[in-house]
């Protein structure tokens, strides 16, 4: 029978059961069919995992594909190859393309392109407002019918609160998830760094970490008012946490994410104006980074993402202030996240909750679990395998990674989407 095989001799991670255990997984018709404690003698293909880890694939919220509009930076094809190599089986794509994804027609076109170009699952976000201009809301219902899993204007903050309230009220009526970038834009305009000693010494325009909290508190007040489902794309400073904790205690439908860069790097990594470390929001202090790791442990922050943002050489080879923001992350998300496992005492189960299970549940997707009937979106990986990252070996069209030349530990060996092997190292 086609697409019927067994992944044997594996160490399984199932974040839903909150357990690690040994065994084998039988895959049939693109779905997880059965767990076997002892590998049965079936007359089907047997892939021996050789004791390595087998886990649900990563679901990465906030991937910028750059298609349409900037295919020279990244295409569905190259992003898909990068995702497969990085163990990402679902890319939740951003709508801040050129043009923006704000009509069902563009969304359908995009999904058609994606399905031709990559086997990796694409779950698209659509804009919250037309052209991300913060004035008129998009056709949310039509867009959901076309496949939109969430609505987000990306890093454009909706400044007209009246529009924001109406958009969230409307989204609530459709049970749609809104993803926002908490930030007070009058403070963050033009800023490239977090204000403090380092930015002051470097003479870089900086924004106070407080701007994130001000933006978040405003958003949460609107969430309280409208009852909408809200996800903060990146929470990166400790000053935001009390508001988040309070909102969750109140029972608001609120979750928060963080990029892997804010969990593993700090503002000092910018050094002498290294533009590959320019991201949005800017890297924070080491103290903030540590507290964000704690927030992952305590569950205050729910989701870890790569915030994959390809930029070509030309847009990075500029003075820090004028260089573009963002870093590619699909291929480095897992090895960087494993730093938290190796050095910060975060268990693989907890890591997989934040990388796979919680994103799936938040977006209403079927992955993130090893239970029977779930899609066979799986990865085999070795958390110990050491390597030195060479950015030229990245499959992304853009090579703007902050991890170039760094020692990393942990690599994907095989990636499966719907039971098809799409990557093998």
């Amino acid at each position: 029978m086609r697409n019927h095989f067994i992944l044997s001799n594996a160490r399984l991670i199932d974040p839903e059961l909150d357990k690690e255990f040994d065994g084998a997984l039988e895959i049939k018709d693109g779905l997880i069919y059965k767990f076997h404690k002892v590998t049965p003698n079936l007359n089907i293909k047997n892939i021996n995992c050789q004791g390595k880890y087998l886990a649900p694939g990563i679901i990465d919220i906030g991937v910028k594909i750059c298609e349409p509009g900037e295919r020279h930076k990244e295409s569905f094809k190259t992003a898909g190859q990068a995702a497969a190599a990085g163990g990402v089986t679902t890319m939740v794509t951003r709508a801040d393309t050129i043009p923006t994804v704000d009509t069902p027609e563009i969304l359908s076109f995009m999904l058609k392109r994606a399905s031709e170009a990559t086997p990796v699952n694409i779950s698209p976000m659509a804009c919250l407002t037309k052209g991300r201009n913060g004035r008129e809301m998009v056709e949310m219902s039509f867009l959901m019918d076309s496949g939109a899993v969430a609505f987000s204007d990306g890093d454009h903050v909706l400044t007209d609160i009246k529009v924001f309230i109406r958009a969230l009220t409307y989204a609530k009526s459709l049970n749609a998830l809104v993803i926002a970038h908490p930030q007070e834009p009058t403070l963050s305009k033009g800023a490239t760094s977090t204000s403090g000693k380092f930015a002051s010494l470097r003479g870089l325009p900086a924004v106070s970490a407080m701007a994130e909290r001000i933006g978040l508190e405003r958003d949460l007040a609107v969430v309280e008012m409208t009852g909408a489902s809200y996800h903060a794309d990146q929470i990166s400073t400790a000053s935001s946490l009390p508001a988040l904790i309070k909102a969750k205690k109140l029972g608001l439908d609120v979750t928060a994410g963080i990029s892997i860069h804010h969990l593993t790097l700090n503002e000092l990594d910018v050094g002498d104006y290294k533009t590959f470390f320019k991201v949005k929001p800017p890297l924070r202090s080491e103290q903030d980074r540590e507290l964000m790791v704690d927030a992952i442990k305590s569950g205050v922050i729910d989701i870890i993402c790569s915030m994959h943002t390809p930029q070509d050489e030309e847009s990075k080879r500029l003075p820090f202030e004028t260089a573009a923001s963002g870093a590619v992350g699909l291929e480095t998300l897992l090895p960087a996240a494993l730093r938290l496992y190796h050095s910060n005492g975060i268990s693989l189960n907890l890591l997989w909750k934040a990388l796979s299970l919680t994103p799936a549940r938040r977006l209403g997707l079927p992955g993130g679990t090893l239970k029977k009937g779930a899609p066979a979106d799986l990865i085999i990986f070795d958390p110990k395998l050491p390597f030195i990252l060479d950015r030229e070996t990245l499959k992304s069209k853009s090579k703007n990674t902050p991890f170039d030349g760094q020692r990393m530990q942990g690599r994907v060996l095989k990636t499966f989407v719907a039971g098809e092997e799409i990557y093998s190292s």
Binding site: K197, A199, R202, G203, L204, A206, P319, E321
Partner: protein
């Protein structure tokens, strides 16, 4: 050899020995510049290009004169008028100039760190003539030499820097330099013009000029740009002058032999009283300009010697 740096990008990258060797060399050049024949052949045969992406009269003239007095071929490029307007990137401009084989590149740029970026791409010595609000190392060095000549030493002095610290690259370079030479630094100005994290700089911060000036040996006034006095950072020019403008009365809180410095250009009546600026008992503002040329001569010579040790024989 105590001076090993390949570029002069900022005070941050210099150690105290290197700072002292520049100042010692510059002292010699002050004498040369006061003599009848103000010329040496130390840089003869070498090419110096001044690239100013931001307007400058004083600094550019000072660098030009420094190069010419050392016998270099000096070319000035007003970058605002050139290819940047046609969309060329900073790096391409640098590579184009690099192909002309300059030996010294003097750069001023409105973006912090732009000079560092440029220095990575060219194979000659790069001197930072001011980048954004990052550093202005030759200004700090000439300030240091002025202090050393007036006070006889450059350590254990109490030095106040007053005004718009937030937007001042001169202040940053001076804080770094004076700190490395083990002086007590006081920053005085309105809280709105202090950089974030200032308390971690190893300085004392005051927002009262009289209190801050108490018993200091040196007062450095900074220029406050007019466009920053329209209510955004301080309410008005007159309120600023009332609280932070330096006059005879406020200066009387400092030591009797205090010296008054200003990097120029001055706003008389805004940050400093006009007669005080000209008071030869305290003001060393003209000396700063004078030793500025000598400091730039010294820095350029030492950079060239660090790159071409064979040239260093026979210099003064």
């Amino acid at each position: 050899m105590t001076f090993r740096s390949k570029h002069l990008l900022g005070i941050e990258y210099l150690n105290p020995d290197e700072i002292t060797s520049i100042l010692d060399k510059a002292d010699q050049y002050v004498e040369l510049n006061r003599s009848n024949i103000k010329h040496s052949e130390v840089l003869s045969g070498l090419t110096q290009i001044n690239m100013f992406f931001e307007n400058s009269t004083r600094t550019q003239a000072s660098f030009e004169l420094a190069g010419k007095r050392l016998g270099a071929d000096v070319m000035n490029m007003a970058m605002e008028a050139s290819s940047l307007k046609k969309g060329e990137t900073l790096i391409d401009t640098a590579l184009t100039l690099n192909a002309m084989h300059p030996d010294l590149l003097v750069v001023r740029h409105p973006n912090s760190g732009a000079v560092n970026l440029l220095a990575e791409k060219v194979n000659c010595a790069v001197l930072n003539a001011g980048d954004g609000i990052h550093e202005h190392p030759t200004q700090a060095l000439l300030d240091a030499l002025t202090i050393r000549r007036a006070k006889g030493r450059l350590h254990r002095l109490s030095i106040a820097i007053c005004g718009d610290i937030l937007h001042s690259r001169v202040a940053r370079s001076n804080i770094l330099l004076l700190g490395k030479m083990e002086n007590r630094i006081r920053l005085i100005g309105p809280k709105t013009l202090m950089p974030a994290g200032i308390s971690d700089f190893g300085v004392e911060v005051f927002d009262d000029l009289r209190e801050g000036l108490k018993d200091v040996d040196v007062v450095m006034m900074l220029r406050l740009q007019k466009e920053r006095m329209d209510g955004g950072f301080v309410p008005s020019e007159r309120e600023y002058y009332h609280r932070f403008g330096l006059d005879k009365n406020k200066l009387s809180y400092a030591k009797k032999d205090v010296i008054v410095m200003h990097p120029g250009p001055m706003n008389r009546g805004v940050e400093i009283d006009g007669t005080l600026a000209d008071d030869i008992n305290h003001s060393v503002i003209q000396e700063q300009v004078e030793v500025g040329v000598a400091v730039r001569m010294a820095a350029m010579e030492l950079l060239i010697n660090a790159r071409h040790p064979e040239r260093s024989a026979g210099t003064i």
